[in-house]
């Protein structure tokens, strides 16, 4: 990190541009935008779009680190651009590119289809044999039971972990960090009984065993979900489950 020189008035952005109707491949374009101490990279992009070049496309909405839209590569590292301050990249230039490991739709916008399919495939909803009628009130869940999955429920689906994952880079089939953490989120919820239904996919080749535990995903996760930890936990449980199924073949895994 460089110390803020007090006289910085502009900062240079190098932005990957790709317009499918006219460009064959992405090209870096350079723009100088005003520098303000309290600005994040997203503010600079908005300035650019509003005042300099209306053709730049990117996703954003909440600008408070919670909607998960604004992930991009900033100087080669996956970041939420609404939480990445210009002041941490002085004196610049700052290179802004679409998230790695995803096809590019246009400029800084990536294609989410693969993620969304895998997301749905792990059945991220409560599965139960029977429902307690609403009249009987809530399912009891102690703070300790809540704590058992809470961390994995904090995922904002920003996909920065996929952009950082060396396995996903080479293996399209890999379910990937956030989706596996999501499966653990439900498997560990005391209200859920669907572990068995999720098992096959999670334990398949595309599931946890693909992960070589590099841990890059947890390092870039802005919400401390620790997907690497989730995968590790699932591995341990599956080994235990596997042994258990031998010992008590008719019991629940």
């Amino acid at each position: 990190m460089t110390q803020a020189p007090s006289d910085a008035t502009t900062i240079r952005l190098e932005i990957a541009r790709y317009r499918p109707e006219q460009d064959e491949r992405p090209v870096l374009e350079r723009y100088d935008v005003p520098y303000r101490h309290e600005w994040v990279v997203l503010d600079a992009l908005n300035y650019l779009k509003d005042h300099i070049d209306g053709t730049l496309s990117y996703r954003w909405s909440c600008r408070m680190g919670i909607c998960g839209s604004c992930g991009m590569m900033v100087n080669g590292v996956p970041k939420l651009t609404c939480s990445a301050f210009l002041r941490d990249y002085l004196p610049g230039p700052i290179r802004v590119e679409p998230m790695a490991n995803f096809p590019v739709e246009r400029d800084l916008v990536t294609v989410l289809d693969d993620f969304m399919e895998k997301f749905q495939a792990v059945k991220p909803w409560i599965i139960r044999d029977g429902e307690q009628p609403l009249e009987e009130g809530e399912y009891r869940q102690t703070p300790a039971q809540l704590a058992d999955f809470k961390q994995f429920s904090m995922c904002i689906n920003c996909m920065l972990c996929y952009a950082a994952c060396p396995v996903y880079q080479h293996e399209d089939e890999f379910l990937g960090p956030a989706v596996l953490a999501l499966a653990q989120r439900y498997n560990h919820d005391s209200r859920d009984q669907g572990k068995g239904e999720r098992q096959e996919l999670i334990w398949s080749d595309e599931g946890i065993w693909d992960c070589t535990f590099v841990g890059e995903c947890s390092a870039v996760c802005p919400k401390h979900v620790d997907p690497a930890g989730a995968i590790q936990q699932a591995k341990v449980e599956s080994t235990v489950g596997w042994y258990r199924s031998f010992l008590a073949p008719f019991g629940r895994g």
């Binding site: 996703r59 909440c62 919670i66 102690t142």
Partner: protein, 596 residues
């Protein structure tokens, strides 16, 4: 020619209200199929930002009657009381349903759901999931919706027009961002769940997508917009960004102080401050737990008295939570700490947080009845884009999330009933309308004859709204805003886009949004001009008191070729006759009586 697809029901919006509506259809009539159109992936919807919580009566000692009363007095008696009753009755069931779907509500040691105090509520009744309540609710709803195969999503499709034929709404025209394709998406019933419109103001807690498109679509189709003049300023936004510091910070005991260290709210008829060590602090409906309109108004007075801190990003006061201690802060309101650290560079465990009032929530919206139906047959609306009304002149914090659920579900069921009874009418006519809309969008995209950038028109619109329709208004400020908006409409005609391409053209969607923003801003200003009284969040310096004689009424703005036509409709009063809104003093007496 625009392509056409057909569903039984089309829902526009994938936020809390839209998802709840979709699930309600799927559960009530599994044979019906739903098309859900959203300009962002559903989990990006603005519901995700809601922090504090969702109100619903479940605890012993609380009662439906009390929640109703708090909501009605909070609304300054402008809420329809039959709607409030229905809402309060159904909210607990809806919140429990969400619990069954997996929402990670914060818990008591015995495993029951925990509740917290909130502003304007006379007892603890706000369910919460730490301070990411909306985030957890939205993700729970979205993930649950994935199990229904008959919900087809159109993610990142922008709805730009309603299709109306034979006097019935029968679909929408939408633009696919990825390809630029324009398509008619037909449905026998349509539900608008497009959220609020804080973005017509410059300084707001609202996300970029909150531009009020659904209101604009309904308004253009002849449906009136109700109570548009009521704009809620939240008293605690971060200067500069407008990022919200949740009311839960005060619910947990945080205090507001001015630059002299004075708990200034005590000068504004909100009761006397208790010592921070007093176990009764924070006292319900008192001081920091007064309603939002009153707290934001107090700030303006303090500013006039020179009692606030001045800074380039705007004046501010301090929200002090240091006395809660690190442990409580991390457990109950960790996001507050995260946001303050990230965006203003202070750690609230050790320093007070700078805050100022910020546009937060729109009480007004598309006029609907209790069943979420609008005056246009086949068109329903729910969530922040709708006005039933339960919020009247001032919404109570934590009433809006349960509102999404209660009226989202009602809209889903109502639309399903409607769709079963009404076949599609003339396909050819609908196709033709879709083609007209396709041509309009093509013109927008192609237009390069003009000179005006959309960003500059938008900025001027926001500035006009702030100076004309802020916390305090007068006829003169409102007239000036109305004039500016009329000029902006002219300027919009000569807008020009840099971007003429098809793929993910966000300058184009920005222009489509701006077109509708101008429309609804105009409805807001004219509704405010006609309301010659002060009530809740609508404060007129030239008419400083509430006037039940003339204005115990809803405003209804109808679109015309000229300025909007404003009509009024009586508020539904059932069992709770209008009274003075009292915070602080009388309540202390009442609370003492009840021994709370």
């Amino acid at each position: 020619m625009a392509e056409i697809t057909q569903h039984d029901i089309v829902i526009i919006g994938g936020g809390g209200a839209g998802l709840r509506a979709a699930i309600a259809v799927a559960e009530t009539y599994p044979d019906l199929d739903v098309g859900m159109v959203s300009k962002v992936y559903p989990m990006r919807s603005h519901t995700v930002s809601a922090e504090g919580g969702a109100a619903g009566v479940i605890k012993p000692g609380d009662s439906l009657e009390d929640h109703i009363r708090d909501t009605i007095s909070g609304s300054d008696w402008l809420a329809d009381q039959d709607a409030v009753e229905a809402f309060v009755r159904e909210a607990p069931r809806e919140l429990t349903q969400l619990e069954h779907w997996g929402c990670p509500w914060s818990r008591e040691p015995d495993g029951s759901v925990a509740v917290r105090p909130f502003g304007g509520m006379g007892i603890q009744r706000t369910w919460f999931a730490a301070d990411k309540t909306g985030f957890h609710m939205l993700h729970t709803l979205f993930q649950t919706s994935l199990k229904y195969a008959r919900i087809t999503r159109y993610d990142e499709w922008f709805a730009s027009r309603l299709l109306v034929e034979d006097g019935r709404c029968q679909g929408v025209v939408a633009l696919e961002l990825r390809t630029g394709e324009v398509r008619g998406i037909l449905g026998k019933a349509v539900i608008l769940c497009t959220g609020g419109f804080g973005r017509i103001f410059p300084f707001t807690t609202n996300a970029a997508i909150k531009t009020g498109d659904g209101l604009g679509l309904a308004y253009r189709a002849g449906v009136p917009l109700k109570d548009m003049e009521f704009v809620q300023y939240h008293p605690t936004g971060l200067p500069g960004t407008g990022i919200l510091i949740t009311e839960a910070a005060r619910g947990e005991g945080g205090i507001l102080v001015n630059k002299h260290g004075d708990r200034y709210l005590r000068h504004y008829d909100l009761g006397e401050p208790l010592d921070l060590g007093d176990p009764r602090h924070p006292l319900f409906r008192t001081m920091e737990l007064g309603p939002r309109d009153r707290l934001s108004q107090a700030f303006v007075h303090e500013q006039e008295l020179g009692n606030v801190f001045e800074a380039p990003d705007g004046a501010y006061v301090h929200l002090d939570i240091r006395h809660l201690g690190e442990k409580t802060i991390d457990q109950k309101i960790p996001f507050v700490r995260e946001l303050a650290k990230n965006y203003v560079g202070i750690d609230p465990v050790h320093q007070p947080i700078p805050v100022r009032p910020v546009v937060h929530y729109m009480m007004g919206g598309i006029d609907t009845d209790l069943e979420a139906a609008t005056s246009l047959p086949g068109l329903f609306a729910a969530g922040e884009c709708a006005c039933v009304s339960i919020n009247g002149a001032n919404r109570l914090g934590s009433n809006s999330l349960p509102e999404l659920l209660v009226f989202g579900a009602r809209a889903g069921r109502g639309a399903a009933e409607w769709a079963r009874e009404h076949p599609e009418s003339s396909r050819a006519a609908l196709e033709q309308q879709a083609d007209v809309e396709e041509a309009r969008i093509r013109d927008f995209r192609g237009g390069d004859g003009g000179t005006e950038r959309i960003a500059s028109i938008r900025a001027d619109l926001q500035a006009a709204m702030e100076s004309g329709c802020g916390i305090y208004r007068t006829e003169a400020t409102l007239r000036a805003a109305a004039e500016s908006i009329a000029e902006l409409r002219e300027r919009f005609r000569s807008m020009r886009l840099d971007d003429h391409s098809l793929a993910f053209n966000t300058e184009l969607t920005g222009a489509l949004e701006l077109d509708l923003m101008i429309e609804i801003a105009e409805a807001l200003v004219h509704s405010a001009l006609q309301r010659e009284e002060s009530r809740g969040s609508h404060q007129r310096l030239d008419f400083p008191t509430r006037d039940d004689e003339r204005f115990l009424k809803h405003s209804l703005a109808y679109r015309t070729e000229g300025v909007p036509r404003i009509e009024h409709r009586d508020v539904v009063i059932t069992r709770w006759p209008p009274a003075e809104r009292v915070y602080g003093r009388a309540h202390e007496a009442g609370a003492a009586e009840r021994g709370t």
